[in-house]
């Protein structure tokens, strides 16, 4: 029996509409993502570990480490906190800003699309979202992991110039961007949103 050795990427989907949530969940699961759906921006932030206006990792509960999110996909038009507001909060958080964000909207309004992309959204999907749109998600996840790995390596190099870096996962990956998301986080680094979910 074939065993998947890679943990599926985890997507957090945010939409206030119940049928739309069901649809996006199905689209994502069909595309081999692990999915969590929430019905509001504030619940999304709660799930991501942001409480109120805190953006310190210290506010994250221990069990939030299990819920590492690799991508957030959110509806634009939602009561209370819009998808744009949610995007802003994510990008303002040093802890969450590297998670790719995709915005969905039923309206094709260029100024809206531009505004979202300028604020840091990685992609904009017109609703109804289709299965073919799902293939656009993984590249953003991988890109953000590459960037993160690069930043981590830069940090390592500047931190420990004289000491030997004996972490085996770094040896081969200094010039290549590893596709694997089983990379270990170093002890002195907190990379909550990249932590591999614990599996037995």
């Amino acid at each position: 029996m074939a065993v998947a050795i890679e943990t599926p990427f985890h997507v957090l989907a945010v939409d206030d509409s119940l049928p739309d949530r069901k649809l996006i969940e199905r689209l994502l699961k069909t595309s081999s993502f692990q999915v969590t759906t929430v019905d509001s921006g504030s619940k999304a932030l709660e799930f991501l570990g942001l409480h109120g206006h805190e953006d310190s990792p210290i506010s994250v509960q221990a069990d939030q480490q299990e819920a590492a999110v690799n991508l957030i996909i959110t509806d634009y038009c939602m009561p209370g906190m819009t998808g744009y507001d949610l995007l802003k909060k994510i990008k303002e958080s040093s802890y969450l800003r590297d998670i790719p964000v995709v915005i969905m909207s039923s309206e094709n309004i260029p100024s809206r699309i531009n505004r979202c992309l300028e604020e840091g959204a990685d992609e904009f999907f017109l609703k109804p979202v289709r299965l073919s749109d799902m293939s656009k998600l993984k590249p953003h996840i991988l890109k953000s992991r590459c960037k993160e790995q690069y930043q981590q390596e830069q940090h390592l190099q500047s931190n420990s110039e004289s000491s030997n870096s004996s972490n085996p996962t770094n040896e081969n990956s200094s010039s290549t961007c590893s596709n694997s998301h089983k990379r270990k986080a170093n002890d002195d680094e907190i990379l909550p949103h990249a932590t591999r979910p614990k599996h037995s």
Binding site: S17, L18, P19, D20, K22, L23, R26, L27, K29, T30, C77, S106, K127, P128, R130, L131
Partner: protein, 151 residues
Amino acid sequence: MEYSNLRRQTIFMKKNLFDQGYLDEQFNQLEELQDESSPNFVEEVAALFFKDSSRLLTNIEQAIDKYPQDFYRLDSLMHQLKGSGSSIGALRMKNECSVFKANCNDRNLEGCRRSLQKMKREHATLKQKLESYFQLLRQVGPSEYAVSSRK
């Protein structure tokens, strides 16, 4: 064979729904997402849609009778209905939403009322037709449905 006759009926029923403009391509997209791991997906989404849309229609009806009229709120409610309607491929409903929204824009209360009545009729008709369709599909059986939906 009784079975293939049933199957032909489902194909015919679905074709009618498309030809008469009740459904659009998005409904096919939903059927493509249905498989052994989610064998009742389309019916489930449709059920959620009708639950959601019934609630919205009730809210719109209440809002339309309030004075002074809040066209912004009416438009916003109908916008939600339009969104979820387009997610399941409810073409006629989606189009009527646009008519309603145009009336909101013109602050045409009478137009809004007429449009709402039309919307309720479309809603009821689509619900009934889809219920018949799903019922027939259940008689045909899941595996054959999965095959026929790929046409």
